[in-house]
C-alpha cells in the first residue's frame, strides 16, 4: 500500500525540484552560457577550441553542479524535515544517498544529455563528443556526492554557498583530471581513453561508498 520510505523520498525530491523549477533547466542554461562565453574570450580559433573543448565542458559542468547544491540539505534543515528524518527508521546514510541520486537526476543528468549538443558549439569531432559525454556520465555523480559533503558542512550557514564551493572544488580536482583526460583521449594522440576512464569510474564508486557516511556524520553533528 504505502511505498517504501526511500521510494517516497526519491519521488518527493523530484517533485520538489520540478515544482520549484530552477534545478535542471537553470543548470543547463548556466552550462550553455559558460560554453558560449569561452569562444568569445579565446577568439575564433577552431583548432584551439576543439583541443580544449573537453576541458571547457568539464569545467562548465563542474561549476553548473555547484548551482543548487547549497540548498540540498539547507532547505530540509530550515523547514524541520532534517530533524524528522533523523527520527526515521531509515538510516540517514541511505536518506543522503537517495537525496544525492535525486539531485543528480535533476541537475547532473541534464548536463550529460546536453553535453554532445554543446560540444558541437566547441567544434568537437564526433569521437570527442562521445568521450566527453561518457566521461561526464561517469564523473558527474562523483561531483554531486562530493558536493553533498560541502552542502552538509555548510547546512547551518545562511550564505554557505561560497564556503561550500571553496570546500569542494579542491576535492573535485582528481575527478576533473581523469574526466578531462578521458574526454580528450580522441583529440590527443598521447592519452588513451580507457585507463583514465576506468580511474574516473573508480573515483565515482569510491565517493559513492564513502560520501554518504561523511555527509550523514556532518548532518548529525550540525543538527546539534
Amino acid at each position: 500500500m504505502s511505498p517504501s520510505p526511500l521510494a517516497a523520498l526519491f519521488s518527493r525530491e523530484i517533485r520538489v525540484a520540478r515544482r520549484l523549477g530552477g534545478g535542471g533547466t537553470m543548470g543547463v542554461i548556466f552550462f550553455l552560457i559558460l560554453v558560449t562565453i569561452v569562444p568569445f574570450a579565446i577568439g575564433p580559433d577552431l583548432n584551439l577550441l576543439s583541443r580544449i573543448g573537453p576541458a571547457i565542458l568539464w569545467i562548465a559542468a563542474l561549476l553548473a553542479t555547484l548551482l543548487g547544491l547549497d540548498r540540498l540539505f539547507q532547505a530540509d534543515h530550515e523547514d524541520g524535515s532534517l530533524d524528522l528524518m533523523l527520527t526515521s527508521d531509515t538510516p540517514l546514510e541511505l536518506v543522503v544517498l537517495v537525496k544525492c541520486l535525486a539531485h543528480w537526476v535533476v541537475t547532473g543528468l541534464p548536463l550529460v544529455i546536453a553535453a554532445p549538443l554543446f560540444g558541437l558549439m566547441l567544434a568537437l569531432d564526433p569521437q570527442a563528443l562521445w568521450t566527453v559525454t561518457l566521461s561526464l556520465l561517469a564523473g558527474t555523480p562523483a561531483l554531486a556526492l562530493l558536493g553533498a559533503i560541502g552542502a552538509a558542512l555548510t547546512v547551518t550557514l545562511r550564505r554557505g554557498g561560497l564556503l561550500m564551493a571553496i570546500l569542494i572544488l579542491p576535492l573535485a580536482i582528481p575527478v576533473l583530471i581523469f574526466g578531462v583526460s578521458a574526454a580528450s583521449a580522441s583529440t590527443s594522440a598521447t592519452t588513451p581513453f580507457w585507463p583514465p576512464f576506468l580511474i574516473l569510474c573508480a573515483l565515482t564508486l569510491a565517493t559513492l561508498a564513502a560520501a554518504p557516511f561523511a555527509v550523514a556524520a556532518a548532518l548529525r553533528h550540525m543538527s546539534e
Binding site: 515544482r19 530533524d83 527520527t87
Partner: protein, 215 residues
C-alpha cells in the same frame, strides 16, 4: 474521536541522570524520570530554562552530556527514544511547494514503524484534524494554524508510542487546541506516552516537571 482498537505494546521510558548542554552552558542537569504506557509528562519553565534543549535531547538530536534515556519493552530490551518517537518542534517539516496530501504521504512512508502501520490515509487524517479542504493546496498557501494541523496529522498517520511535543499549541485556534487535547487523550488511551513543553495548560492529566530557569 478516533475509535481505534489498536494499542501500543507495554514499555517503560526511563531517563537517568540526564544532562544536556547548549553552547557550553549546561541547561539540564541530573534529570531522572520514568514514564510508562498512558503517562504524560508536561515540562514547564521560563524562557531559556532548557525545555527545547531537553526535548531535542530526548528526540536524539543532541547527545547527552551525561546520563541515559531509553525505552524498554517488557522483555527488557531497550531502544533509543528517537527511533520510537514523533518530534513536533517549531517547524512542521512540510515542503511549501508540495500539497498537504503529498507531504503527509511522504512522512507516512518515512516515519512508519514496522508492525505499527496505520490504515488512515492522508485525506482521512486531514479530516480528523479539521482541515480536509487543504489536501490539494500547496502548503505554502496555508495559514500558520493550518500548517500546524497538517504537521500534526503525521502523528496519526505513522503511529509511534512516544510523542515529543515542543509548544504544541502554537498557532492553533481555540478549536484546534481542543482538538489537540482530544488527540493527546486518545494517544494516551491507546497506551502511548507523551512529553510536552508548554506554557499554557494542555488539558490532560500529566506528571509535571519544572525546569529551573537560571539565566
Amino acid at each position: 474521536m478516533t475509535e481505534s482498537l489498536f494499542s501500543f505494546p507495554t514499555f517503560r521510558l526511563e531517563a537517568q541522570g540526564l544532562a544536556f548542554a547548549r553552547g557550553g552552558r549546561t541547561l539540564v542537569e541530573d534529570l531522572s524520570f520514568e514514564l510508562t504506557n498512558g503517562n504524560a509528562l508536561v515540562v514547564t519553565g521560563a524562557n531559556g530554562a532548557g525545555k527545547s534543549t531537553l526535548l531535542r535531547g530526548l528526540a536524539g538530536f543532541l547527545s547527552a552530556h551525561a546520563g541515559t534515556a531509553l525505552l524498554m519493552d517488557e522483555a527488557g530490551a531497550h531502544e533509543t527514544i528517537a527511533s520510537q518517537a514523533h518530534y513536533v518542534g517549531h517547524q512542521e517539516g512540510s515542503k511549501p511547494a508540495l500539497t498537504a496530501r503529498e507531504n503527509l504521504a511522504f512522512w507516512q512512508a518515512m516515519l512508519a514503524l514496522p508492525g505499527l502501520k496505520s490504515d488512515l490515509t492522508p485525506d482521512a487524517a486531514l479530516a480528523l484534524l479539521g482541515v480536509p479542504q487543504v489536501a490539494d493546496l500547496p502548503v505554502a498557501y496555508l495559514s500558520a494554524g493550518q500548517k500546524r494541523r497538517v504537521g500534526l496529522a503525521r502523528l496519526l498517520l505513522a503511529p509511534r508510542p512516544v510523542w515529543i511535543l515542543d509548544e504544541p499549541l502554537t498557532a492553533l485556534d481555540a478549536a484546534g487546541q481542543a482538538l489537540l487535547t482530544e488527540l493527546m487523550k486518545d494517544h494516551l488511551a491507546q497506551g502511548g506516552t507523551l512529553i510536552a513543553a508548554t506554557h499554557a495548560p494542555l488539558g490532560i492529566e500529566s506528571l509535571h516537571l519544572e525546569l529551573g530557569g537560571t539565566p
